[in-house]
């Protein structure tokens, strides 16, 4: 993802969460909920970044088909 694009996206998210924070009373269930929501959203950004870099990282394109083909080549 382009850095500027990501920055604007994070800005929007930050504004949303400031809005949510101002809106609510300060107690632990609110904190936990906000924590879970922030975790989900950053999880989505993480997924997008992982899928963009499909040849390394946690989510990779499998090389199994090519390696299978290589074993079939055997001279």
């Amino acid at each position: 993802m382009l850095p500027l694009f990501l920055a604007v996206l994070v800005l929007w998210l930050a504004i949303i969460f400031v809005g949510l924070g101002v809106h609510t009373a300060n107690n632990s269930i609110v904190l936990v909920t906000l924590f879970a929501a922030a975790l989900s959203v950053s999880g989505a950004v993480f997924l997008i970044e992982e899928l963009d870099h499909s040849l390394d990282g946690l989510i990779q394109v499998s090389s199994a088909p090519l390696r299978n083909a290589l074993t079939q080549l055997g001279p």
Partner: protein
Amino acid sequence: MSPLGIGSIVFVCVFGSAMLGCYLRTLLADHHLTDDSMRVVTMSTGLLTTLVAMVLGLLISSAKTSFDRITDEVMQTASKVVLLDRALVSYGPETTETRELLHRAIASAIDMIFAEKGSRLATLTAPERLAGMEQFQAKLRDLAPRNDAQRAFQSRALAFSDELV
């Protein structure tokens, strides 16, 4: 930067701004926190929520599409490699050396592309890999077919190798 790092930074920013919101509430005087002003906050947040939902959905679907496309390409390449090898086998025993060359070129290409660290799509067109394939193609062209069947297999193999490059 690694995706995990970016994700963590986004998390810190987002959760930090939620905490900032909670803190702001304790600072603000009561007349800022009336129902009317809160309604404006809710509506603006709703507007941004819609925007972010659409953009995130779009980004995830396009990232997934490009990931699936690369997976497909890997599978197609694998099947082409096998077909190319079968064509060489059908050509006759004089292609043994060529097949070994193909085996080596493919093995090094796999190692290069699926290396643990620092691999990028750019390595798909790395000059060293192209050199290996060109050497293989030159070998393929040097074959001297003796009959029509061998000629057909040679042109078939050349067509597959062109698609692989």
